[in-house]
């Protein structure tokens, strides 16, 4: 029983990070119609930012969170303006590849600059654990979870209650119609991309509370992020959020009850079966 609860807890923690990554992918997919292969790298860059903020300024990741998000937003925005916007004017197949090429560049730049060794943040503000008897909750792991929920919540509020957010949703539903009512799609696209980078950045920064920091870390989240988005119903942001949580829980459970190596296989099989019978994802289509 306690193993079950522990696995559930770990799964939700892991899933909350995946949820943010998935939301970023869903945002870009919904608004621009391309798959963002670089969410994992945005997460990774933010992790390094958080690490160096900690190392040279002594900032706890919770405190450097807003800065990391801001930096990532700017990076995302610039990348959109320089690269993505031009790619979108070309043929569809090329568009699909540009974020992959981008992720290659980002990962290897990180490899070059920071080298491959694993780093961690030595001391964090909130540490220790809560012993509930049937399970132990690590406070360090609780922090990213809380941050993820807060960031996701803010995203929902932003997309549903603010004018800019609604503009983004409108553009993702129908670009032409949105244009006709005066929404500037270029600006909206850039905003959406920047936002997706910021969300991934938040996830990354939060992760540094207990996760290892290294250039290839993004890969751990990228594929599952994609799968989470499809599970949740492609393009749907709330769907992606829940898809991420489910993926995290599935990952944790298969890791505990199955051979660690084959848990990946197990999850993919479940995913492939799901898409067969519910092609619009768990929460329906757009």
């Amino acid at each position: 029983m306690s193993m079950f609860m522990q696995a559930l807890f770990e799964g939700v923690i892991n899933g909350s990070t995946l949820a943010l990554v998935a939301m970023g992918i869903a945002l870009v997919w919904g608004v621009m119609g391309i798959l963002s292969f670089s969410q994992g790298e945005f997460l990774m860059i933010a992790m390094f930012c958080s690490y160096y903020f900690n190392r040279y300024l002594g900032l706890d990741p919770i405190l450097s969170l807003p800065f990391c998000m801001a930096i990532m937003f700017v990076i995302g925005f610039i990348i959109y303006k320089l690269i993505i916007s031009r790619a979108l004017r070309g043929p569809i197949l090329s568009q699909r590849l540009i974020t992959f090429a981008l992720s290659m560049v980002l990962v290897n730049m990180a490899l070059l600059i920071f080298h491959g060794d694993f780093k961690t943040i030595p001391e964090v503000a909130i540490s220790g654990s809560i012993d509930l008897g049937f399970m132990v909750i690590s406070k360090q792991k609780l922090v990213p979870f809380v941050i993820s929920i807060c960031v996701a919540g803010s995203m929902f509020l932003f997309l549903n209650k603010t004018r800019t957010g609604k503009a983004i949703r409108a553009t993702s539903m129908n670009k032409t119609a949105a244009g006709l009512v005066g929404i500037n799609s270029e600006k909206t696209y850039a905003l959406a991309f920047g936002l997706s980078a910021a969300i991934a950045g938040a996830a990354g920064c939060a992760l540094t509370y207990f996760y290892y920091i290294y250039p290839n870390v993004g890969a751990n989240f990228q594929l599952f992020g994609f799968i989470a988005v499809v599970m949740g119903g492609f393009g749907s942001i709330p769907g992606a959020f829940f898809g991420g949580l489910i993926m995290g829980i599935a990952d944790s459970f298969t890791g505990v009850y199955m051979n660690t190596a084959f848990k990946y296989v197990g999850i993919c099989v479940v995913f492939l079966l799901l898409v067969q019978f519910k092609p619009k994802g768990l929460f329906g289509g757009k």
């Binding site: 197949l93 590849l97 981008l102 290897n108």
Partner: protein, 338 residues
């Protein structure tokens, strides 16, 4: 067949000229590194042309073709290890296995469209990679060595002279190009293009889209598998990390798309450019931990931004002034001559 030869006389003449150049070139440039590079270019040409069938002509973007690449490679390696089977036979066994695999996974997978299909292929390929890493019979993570002591060179496709690899691969490449060229204006490929253009319209003119998609998937699996088999013979050692990663899958896609999607020789151009860049940067920049891949990625970005239709269409635009008859062959000749 005769009719195709007649209608495309000029293309075939161009092919013969290019083949002649391809045969002569390494005799002129006697650099071992270049010979190996050329062999790699040919492997990627075959693989790119294979992907093109399902991804370029039929428009179903598979990001998981490393699966078939790996199956092809493992087929020759394991056939050699366990049964001392010659690759000349094992290559075809691998192709058959890949086709069967494509049929089995294709049926459910190809019911999905667009990004969902792409993501599903990625999940599948990743599953396969993990299965291979843990499958002891296939050598697991340590991979498989192809036994290479005292074997008959030609029977086992293992050559001391690297140039022989090149000529054998050239044979396969030319066969593939001719196959694709013959299919290019065939009912099969027209149907694939129609499915790519508008699946609903395709069904309304009598095309069984599901069936044709699977056929295209199977053909592309077979061709990519052959490419993987040749690669294994060249390297004489394989493991899952060399063959079945997402990077490999995406590079397969890049070769075809960068070169010119849905065209006969586009993937060859893509292979020439991308493989040359990646090999040269690996050798000269690889020591700077990752710089070679940065260059590769930057190059892809530049090609996407400035040659959105692919290298072939950019080249066609530039050489449009030159004799229209040799329009399709001249660019290939130019690049090979360098």
């Amino acid at each position: 067949m005769k009719k195709i030869l007649r209608d495309n006389k000029n293309w075939f003449i161009g092919l013969i000229i290019c083949t002649a150049l391809a045969i002569i070139f390494p005799q002129v440039v006697k650099v071992r590194f270049v010979w190996n590079l050329l062999s790699m270019i040919l492997v990627w040409s075959i693989v790119g042309m294979g992907w093109n069938v399902i991804g370029g002509y039929c428009g179903q973007v598979s990001n998981g073709h490393s699966l078939f690449y790996g199956v092809g490679a493992y087929s020759v390696a394991l056939a050699n290890s366990y049964y001392k089977l010659s690759p000349w036979i094992a290559i075809w066994i691998g192709a058959l296995i890949s086709m069967a695999l494509a049929f089995v996974v294709g049926k459910p997978l190809l019911r999905m469209k667009g990004h969902v299909f792409s993501i599903s292929t990625m999940a599948l390929a990743e599953c396969a990679r993990i299965i291979f890493i843990n499958w002891k019979w296939c050598g697991g993570a340590t991979g498989v060595y192809i036994y290479s002591k005292h074997v008959n060179e030609w029977a086992y496709m293992q050559f001391k002279n690297p140039l022989n690899y090149y000529y054998v691969f050239l044979m396969f490449t030319i066969a593939t190009v001719v196959l694709i060229k013959c299919l290019d204006k065939s009912k099969f490929f027209y149907y694939l293009r129609t499915i790519k253009g508008n699946e609903m319209a395709a069904e309304s003119v009598g095309i069984n889209a599901a069936s044709y998609k699977i056929r295209a998937y199977m053909l592309s699996a077979a061709i990519v598998s052959i490419g993987g088999s040749l690669y294994a013979q060249f390297m004489l050692y394989i493991d899952p990390s060399m063959l079945m990663t997402l990077n490999i899958s995406m590079m397969i896609v890049l070769t075809a798309v960068m070169g010119g999607v849905g065209t006969v020789i586009g993937p060859i151009l893509g292979a020439i450019v991308l493989t040359t860049i990646s090999e040269y940067s690996r050798v000269y920049l690889g020591k700077f931990g990752g710089l070679d891949m940065i260059l590769y990625g930057v190059l892809v970005i530049l090609i996407v931004l400035f040659m959105p239709g692919g290298i072939l269409s950019a080249v066609e635009e530039q050489s449009g002034k030159i004799l229209a008859i040799f329009k399709k062959e001249k660019p290939l000749k130019k690049i090979v001559e360098q």
